[in-house]
């Protein structure tokens, strides 16, 4: 049941517990308890709303920042990572393989805010060797959702 609950919530976090129980053929009380357990154990880390800000006329930019750092003895990358993720501007940060060490994702900021954050905060952190900022120009698909106008049901009557 757990895996099924998670799979459904991952796609539709707003589903009512009763509906969730119905589609799984499970008892509503049991499902509620299980969701609460998953939340308290941080299996479910949060519920996120994906918003296309362009559609409400808000000029918000997103950027990926590749960060190279000098890992520190004893704590590796984790300490630098913490100094970065503590900033509320940071929506995501990942340690990655390849040409850089971290990829930092900033979302929903103005160009100026991003520039300021990178030059004044991120680049000046001890251990950060270099940054490379990549602005997102257009979103096609995000978190499994295609960013476009909803499609109509085009199925025609046939018999």
């Amino acid at each position: 049941m757990t895996e099924k609950i998670l799979t459904i919530l991952e796609k539709n976090a707003r589903i009512r517990t009763d509906d969730l129980a119905n589609i799984l053929g499970e008892d509503s009380y049991m499902v509620r308890q299980e969701v609460e357990r998953l939340e308290s154990e941080k299996v479910i880390c949060g519920y996120h709303t994906l918003i296309n800000w362009d559609k409400v006329g808000q000029e918000k930019a997103d950027a990926f920042i590749e960060v190279k750092v000098a890992p520190q003895r004893g704590v590796g990358f984790d300490q630098v990572a913490e100094r970065i993720w503590q900033y509320p501007e940071v929506s995501s940060i990942f340690l990655v393989s390849g040409n850089c060490d971290f990829i930092v994702l900033l979302q929903g900021k103005s160009m100026r805010e991003i520039a300021m954050f990178v030059s004044e905060k991120l680049a000046t952190i001890d251990g950060v060797l270099s940054t490379m900022t990549q602005f997102i120009l257009k979103k096609y698909k995000q978190d499994g959702f295609v960013v476009e106008n909803p499609r109509k049901d085009e199925r025609e009557a046939i018999s």
């Binding site: 459904i8 539709n12 589903i15 509906d19 119905n22 589609i23 799984l24 053929g25 049901d153 199925r155 009557a157 046939i158 018999s159």
Partner: protein, 388 residues
């Protein structure tokens, strides 16, 4: 002027589903929500579509062999062996057709002489009876019963058999009832079929959409049945490929050889582009089918629960993407119920009577719709019945 029409064709009434869709179209109201459509709401999986595109860009746009691309027939052979435990020779026992519908037509024409009887359990899809009449045969209807969850009973079959009976038509998982027949049910039918020396045409187009614990059983896999069964299957429902128009028939070489003639002279060959896409579907599409089946199953359970909460009697249909709730307690015919539901709540569902007289008193509810649409629709049904 002389009568330009063929009297057989002229006497066939128009499809009951069509009549209802026309009503919906007449309303021309954007507020109308429909649970009437009998095709998947999913797009064809992308890797399959891409193979279709690739076939076009590579110029693979010639005719194929009449029976279909050999490569596809080989994949069909593997697929039926893998899923249903029956193996067919790609060279002589498999015919690729324009959807399952063409396969049914070709099979009837190839097997039936004028006056032969085709036993058709109803409720069932609307095309079977007309196809039997096109072939000059006589359809003999068995009215299936709700108390048997619309599964064919051996004694019902026994009672319908005459010395003219030739083909028993089976369609499980069933459109419109969602009924399924398990191995034990089919064994009883097979016994009667063999004893009376009948043949079976089994429309297994919904085979992949079965929500039972036991895996789907094809009647052709039962002892003594392979040589007297033609299976019709296709890509439309399982792989969400309705518009590609591709199906197939598998059966004994002796029968397929004659079906091939009907197909070759009436159709020539199925669309080559679709065939290349279908090869990809059979090779790499099992996961997609499982995903879509999982989604349908969730919607099915959701609707069953909601009907139960509303006090609408609905047997637990375990196949296809239809539920067949009973509305007899509201004292209306299914036509009247569906028409009033449409007028009052702007919700379109197909009356069960469109699928045969034994469908009277029932509605066909398709759950080839998003959960969101289903929720809205169910609220409308609830609002409607609460006022009755």
């Amino acid at each position: 002027m002389r009568d330009p029409l063929n009297s057989f064709i002229e006497q066939i009434p128009p499809s009951g589903i069509r009549r209802f869709f026309d009503l919906v179209a007449e309303m021309n109201d954007p507020e109308v929500v429909s649970l009437g459509v009998g095709e998947p709401d999913f797009d064809t999986p992308w890797h399959i579509r891409e193979e279709g595109i690739y076939a076009i860009t590579k110029g693979k746009t010639f005719y194929s062999a009449n029976a279909g691309l050999m490569e596809l027939r080989k994949e069909i052979s593997r697929y039926t062996a893998r899923h249903y435990g029956v193996t067919y020779d790609p060279a002589t026992e498999i015919l690729v057709t324009i959807g399952g519908s063409e396969a049914i037509d070709a099979c009837f024409r190839a097997m039936l002489d004028p006056g032969d009887e085709v036993i058709i359990p109803e409720p069932c899809f609307v095309s079977y009876k007309p196809c039997a009449i096109f072939a000059g045969a006589k359809p003999v209807v068995i009215d299936l019963k709700a108390e048997n969850e619309f599964r064919l009973q051996p004694e019902e079959l026994e009672a319908a058999i005459t010395e003219k009976s030739k083909i028993l038509f089976l369609s499980y998982p069933n459109n419109p009832t969602g009924a399924v027949m398990g191995k034990a049910d089919l064994e009883k039918i097979a016994e009667v079929v063999i004893r009376h020396d009948l043949f079976v045409l089994s429309d297994e187009i919904y085979a992949a959409l079965s929500y039972t614990d036991e895996p789907f059983t094809s009647i052709a896999s039962l002892p003594g049945m392979r040589e007297r069964t033609v299976i019709v299957n296709g890509f439309s429902k399982a792989f969400a490929m309705t518009g590609w128009r591709l199906g197939y028939a598998t059966g004994p070489a002796r029968i397929v050889k004659q079906m091939m003639k009907v197909h070759q002279f009436a159709i020539m060959c199925p669309p080559t582009i679709s065939q290349y896409a279908a090869i990809e579907a059979l090779r790499n599409g099992d996961e997609d089918v499982l995903y879509m089946r999982g989604e349908y199953d969730q919607r099915r359970r959701f609707l069953l629960k909601r009907f139960e909460e509303m006090g609408i009697d609905c047997f637990e249909a375990k196949g296809a993407f239809y539920l067949f709730p009973c509305i007899k307690k509201f004292g209306m015919s299914s036509d009247e119920f569906a028409e009033r539901l449409l007028a009052d709540q702007k919700l379109a569902v197909v009356p069960g009577s469109a699928f045969g007289t034994s469908g009277e008193g029932f509605l066909r509810i398709s759950y080839a719709y998003s959960l969101r649409d289903l929720k809205r629709a169910v609220e409308r049904i609830e609002a409607f019945v609460s006022k009755l």
